[in-house]
Symmetry: D2
Subunit: 147 residues, 4 copies
Amino acid sequence: MLSYEMTHRVAYYETDVMGYVHHSNYVRYFEIARTEMMRAAGFTYAELEASGVMMPIIEVHSRYYQPAKYDDLLTFRATVKELQGVRLTIEYEVLNEIGTLLCSGSTTLAFIDAATRRPCRAPEDFVSRILGVVTPTITISKTTFMQ
Amino acid sequence: MLSYEMTHRVAYYETDVMGYVHHSNYVRYFEIARTEMMRAAGFTYAELEASGVMMPIIEVHSRYYQPAKYDDLLTFRATVKELQGVRLTIEYEVLNEIGTLLCSGSTTLAFIDAATRRPCRAPEDFVSRILGVVTPTITISKTTFMQ
Amino acid sequence: MLSYEMTHRVAYYETDVMGYVHHSNYVRYFEIARTEMMRAAGFTYAELEASGVMMPIIEVHSRYYQPAKYDDLLTFRATVKELQGVRLTIEYEVLNEIGTLLCSGSTTLAFIDAATRRPCRAPEDFVSRILGVVTPTITISKTTFMQ
Amino acid sequence: MLSYEMTHRVAYYETDVMGYVHHSNYVRYFEIARTEMMRAAGFTYAELEASGVMMPIIEVHSRYYQPAKYDDLLTFRATVKELQGVRLTIEYEVLNEIGTLLCSGSTTLAFIDAATRRPCRAPEDFVSRILGVVTPTITISKTTFMQ
């Protein structure tokens, strides 16, 4: 399955008065990670939408183990878990600079037709790339966003 | 001119590690205040967009005097300042529970045609209400959002 | 168990290009709902933190059924599910104006000592109120935020 | 004066139903740009706070010319404008991939003592670096965040 890793520098506006990254932002981190995984696999989410297919979220799960702090350089890991019918499940891990696992989670997305907003099949080329048939079991590493 | 006042309870996710409301959120507060002012005047922004007119922001200015903290009950004041051609300027004040002025600001918005995305005239009924011709120089007070 | 219901008007900045409320905002809605549930029960989260106890999130789960749109008047329902040791689980539902269930979810929070950042017992008065011993099985309804 | 340039990929959660980046996010972009400018100059904002000095925002101004869309690769430019007493003014430009200026703006920040929350002098080393005395009139270019 497709796997991807990238880094992200915690912004000030992502923190809260507790002194840590607000937990809602990890859900946004998951989105950034899967978006970049798709780009790395050669089929951006923007292209998918342009082709008339959207992927709304139908389920999110996240567990928090340790907090992230302002200016921490986080690592996001995304891995495609399964494609079942019109549903795609992706798993995530967020680690800090010394490799401590801060958060793990998963999201399930559905393929829908942008015009009708009804479930639809994913484009075949997209599926091949996401399932790693075109680029089998690759791990792409990229250091990004203010390293 | 139309004027409006409402309250807002500071959410945890609006704060940052400094212990205060992050300054970017005041720009969002301005948006909430003008949206509710329009609703109170009898012409919601949602109706405006449904009629084919959008109001993108073309200028924001804000000054910060004192910080707001988590769970503070803020007062937002919005006042229509002027309508010049396709541009509408609105002014804002944000105060805390003891009446201290925390932030003041202004936004200028343009009327554009949603289809062409070109500047356009504002609907007459909307203008009458915003300029207070239909409901002249009213001040509507409303206590809202978790008082 | 304690239960609570409130309303929230969807802000423009909570939407995304898909035309709906971005899924990450529901996690923030859960936070608003439990904060207001605590306030209604007579023990605010701000008071809890002032007493030296914090409640970081350790788990979030949410399922999305139907999208919310700009300016929708949403209903948030929060219900205390269980208090097990230092962990408190709360369940949520988000509905639109015609009563359609848009999202359901749960959060688990831990009680920690603000100074040591180690798990700690919840204050007894807080527990009594949250578990509905002081105010047994109440349902408090409150219409808020720009109704 | 110190100047800095970086890139940023627009995230889905930064867009709104109008189809563009929500205007409040540019204020957050300004923050990212000045933070990275400081890092490039050799004195991070995190180090400044650790040394007991905070820099709250006291003024923001921004003008919007053209919208940014989902997945656009934006360029952020930050330039130190002036340091007057305890106030530091920084100017910004945000451009899209074909060089169109989308937004320009400025922020004024104050140096305050983190303990007393009163205005204070900026650390000398910080000032030298920010004013470009240590590293005179440099322009650092860095491509970041999911290029």
